[in-house]
């Protein structure tokens, strides 16, 4: 009785979410309308009005000026502190920061899940294994409440920005209004698809209907991706403005503004990161369900779900460093100054924290794989190698987070005592880091290969040769990567230093692809020594999944801060200055405190969502029992 009333509340919550979202999107339209009629009584217009009032006493001609170009696009306004409305007791920047970040977290999750679900659904169709379909359905159910929460935060974000940064929003709307309308429209299309996809799941489970269902899933993903790309355009425009002149006057071609220098690198990095992120959150969900499971059947299901989610997270994780370096390379290409601010200035320390986090991600992924070997007795053959892999990964990790040259303003230099790290300087250079990352990836892949074969013995006649070839590929690639790193890092001039990364990445990819192909053929029809027993994994392994989810969330918060902070005191880099009292760059400690608070709020909401899913799950089970 009580349970069902809570379920009713859940539906209520969904509806409330949509109502709120609807309200805000309507206000978005309204905002645009007011904006175009110059009705909005805050910001630049007030300044203009005030200026005109002052100049009114002067001879004519002075007044005519501001009107002359009214029809055309205005340059970016020059604001003063007074143009930023202050609300007592609320710090506008922190509010906007937290709300934007929470929106981003939920959005990333909500966009990722349909991708995962779509893939899992296809796998389920291909393998005719009902388990996949069941899991996919469970995924999407978890993301449903998150979806309305995303919308609520999106609306709240818009609201916050309009309140605290009215002139900035007006400027952006002036340029981007068509995309903002498209965004609102796509949001509704996305909601529609999601609802049909979810509620139609069981109705469209067989035959042709399944294909229709799959098509809707496909559309859901396309719309979601376009939605994100639009938002990325706004964000990347703020970093690398394009289609405006030096004073910020929009030249009229919106495609130029969208397709700015950092748009595509950001699109790629975010898409991939979202998949990895979605995997990690679902992994945490499964881990929690595993830990609180009552019977072996449930345990097996959630162990398997956790494993699959983690696997997806790894697949996303592997290409991320490369996408990340591309993004950074493009930032350098766009503005050396921004690049140096990013990797050389105070922010350099943020990348050391980033390295610690990514190291934690890799270690927990590996740890989980090693624990997973306990699912099969056959794994005992391999456990002795684990300590070596662990050693290599930790060593690479240490190289990776060795600080790079720190270029700073004289004052910052004084505070730190010099631009180079005293002892570790040589390890901080890029080729050393590239080498470390690549080796870390190769060894993570090795963990995975060992895991794959822990319950099997290859029966094909050429198995010894296959193993030898694989070993040779590993050794050759590692030597190759090291030599490349050492040669480029220490024996050539600076111009060529970056040259090492491409052949190194090529070596890594070659290992992964060639060994995977060999492995697939070698273990075709392999003999099972001891079956994988899902659910037979120690509880402590599940905590690796929590570390994964929490670290990922925290990392995203940190990177979101970096992305926003490297614009420094600019709303739109080099054309629209931020003159609010909060335009300063905070210390790392301050920033990470805000990020941590954000993560805690996010986690609290996620736990709430899981709890709702849990309760309605129970209801479904009890309903099932009645039928």
């Amino acid at each position: 009785m009580r349970l069902s009333s809570i379920v009713v509340k859940k539906n209520l919550l969904l509806k409330m979410g949509f109502t709120v979202a609807l309200f805000f999107f309507v206000s978005l339209f309204a905002f645009q309308f007011l904006e175009s009629t110059k009705f909005f009584p805050i910001g630049v217009d007030t300044v203009y009005a005030a200026e005109q009032a002052v100049t009114a006493e002067k001879p004519a001609g002075a007044e005519a000026k501001p009107d002359a170009k009214k029809e055309e696009y205005q340059p970016a306004p020059k604001l003063t502190e007074k143009d930023y409305p202050q609300v007592k007791g609320i710090n506008g920047r922190i509010m906007a920061w937290l709300v934007a970040q929470l929106h981003l977290w939920f959005a990333a999750f909500v966009l990722a899940v349909p991708i995962l679900v779509f893939i899992v659904e296809i796998i389920g169709m291909a393998t005719k294994d009902k388990r996949y379909d069941k899991m996919a359905y469970e995924f999407i159910k978890v993301s449903l409440t998150a979806y309305s929460i995303t919308a609520v935060f999106g609306g709240l974000l818009l609201f916050t920005l309009v309140i605290f940064y009215p002139d900035f929003m007006r400027y952006m709307a002036n340029i981007f209004s068509p995309t903002m309308l498209a965004y609102a429209f796509l949001f509704f299309a996305e909601s529609a698809c999601l609802y049909i996809y979810y509620y139609g799941w069981h109705a469209m489970e067989e035959g042709t209907a399944k294909w229709v269902h799959l098509t809707i899933g496909w559309m859901l993903n396309i719309i979601g991706t376009v939605l994100m790309f639009l938002a990325n355009a706004w964000v990347s425009f703020m970093m690398s403005p394009h289609g405006v002149d030096a004073a910020g006057v929009f030249e009229g071609n919106i495609w130029h503004a969208i397709h700015n220098h950092l748009w595509n690198p950001l699109n790629l990095h975010r898409t991939v990161a979202n998949v990895a992120y979605g995997g990690s959150i679902i992994g945490a969900y499964a881990a929690y369900k595993f830990l609180s499971a009552r019977n072996t059947e449930e345990k097996a299901h959630y162990d398997w779900m956790g494993y699959t989610a983690n696997f997806i997270a790894i697949c996303g994780l592997l290409p991320l460093p490369f996408a990340g370096y591309w993004l950074i390379a493009e930032i350098y290409a766009y503005s050396q100054q921004m690049g140096i601010t990013l990797m050389g200035g105070v922010f350099a320390w943020l990348f050391i924290i980033q390295a610690v986090l990514i190291g934690a991600l890799f270690l927990s992924v590996n740890y989980y794989l090693w624990c997973g070997m306990e699912r099969s007795k056959g794994a005992e053959r391999y456990t002795k190698y684990i300590k070596y892999i662990a050693f290599v990964i930790v060593a690479c990790f240490l190289v990776w987070f060795t600080p790079h040259t720190l270029i700073m303003t004289p004052g910052e230099l004084k505070a730190l005592g010099g631009p180079y790290h005293k002892y570790l300087g040589p390890l901080g250079i890029m080729p050393a880091k590239n080498t470390a990352v690549n080796i870390m990836l190769i060894f993570t892949f090795l963990s995975f290969l060992l895991y794959r074969r822990c319950n099997k013995i290859a029966t094909v006649s050429w198995a010894p040769i296959g193993n030898a070839i694989q070993a040779a590929i590993f050794v050759a690639a590692i030597i190759n990567i090291c030599i490349l790193g050492i040669y480029y890092g220490y024996f050539t001039n600076t111009v060529l230093k970056v040259g090492s990364s491409v052949p190194q990445v090529a070596s890594t990819l070659f290992v992964i692809i060639s060994c995977m192909i060999i492995d697939v053929f070698m273990f075709k029809g392999a003999k099972e020594v001891a079956p994988l027993q899902w659910g037979k994994i120690p509880d402590r392994s599940q905590y690796a999944l929590f570390i994964l989810a929490v670290s990922f969330t925290w990392l995203m918060g940190l990177m979101g801060f970096i992305r926003s902070a490297i614009r420094q005191h600019w709303h739109v880099y080099t054309v629209f200055r931020d003159n609010s009292p909060d335009a300063f760059t905070p210390t790392i400690g301050y920033a990470t405190k805000v990020v941590s608070i954000g993560v805690i709020i996010f986690m609290a909401i996620v736990i709430f969502i899981f709890w709702l899913a849990h309760i309605s799950g129970k209801k479904n089970v009890s309903q099932g029992a009645h039928h």
Binding site: Q336, I340, I352, E412, V495, Q568, D578, I588, T592, S596
Partner: protein, 268 residues
Amino acid sequence: MKTFLKVVIFSVAVILFYAFYANVMIPQVRPAPPPAEAKLDMGSLTMEQFIHMGDEIFHGKGTCELCHNPVGGRAPLLDQVGKIAEERIKDPRYKGKAKTGEEYIRESMKEPSTFVVAGFGVKGTNDTQSPMPVVTSGAIGLKDFEVDAVIAYFQQKAGVTVTVQLPKETPKATEETHVADPAKSGEEVVTKYGCGACHKIAGQQGALGPDLTKIGAKKNKDYLRRAVLNPNADIAPGFPAGMMPPDFGTKMLSGEFEILIDYMVKSK
């Protein structure tokens, strides 16, 4: 419930660990505050604030201290210039238009070569050319009211009567500099940012820094990029560190920067 608590405590612990690491293990550098922008609100400005503004420009944005410091001996000290200025006009070598100390200082800043302090001219010009950049253009780019603020600061420091007037209204000048068209050729960039004040480059004869007319033959692109963005990374032998302004990177548009680097690479 026990599992639930365990998971929550564990996750919070992970978050706290990261927060702790970032707050305690990482040095807390306080980033420089955003560079001050010309104050728009002039109506309520007092002379005291105006002098303070001049002080800040002299030590910061004006980059005057790069040359006017007691260490390098490359430019005269300015703490008494408010007083000295009046003597300068009486100097027989003086051919400028200034009638008062205030006008002399303004002239020194806007047309440095009008009068060159003995011994400080560009080498070989017999004190007819000043190595000092025009402070109202190029990289320094002071507005007229900022020049006034610096003069007020000099006068106050030298203990003479402050004769400059407070600016009356919002200086429109701020608007114009931003709209300034981006430079389109190497020469234009050099002129816009006043490299010629210190370097022999693009027909200009600065002598405080290395000759750049054949720099492309000696240095590669990467080196030149660094030389402009972070001048103190490598110091050209025989020249002082810290003189070349370190902030061209923030001031130039990235397009201009590329043009400049290409221009230097091709200077062979």
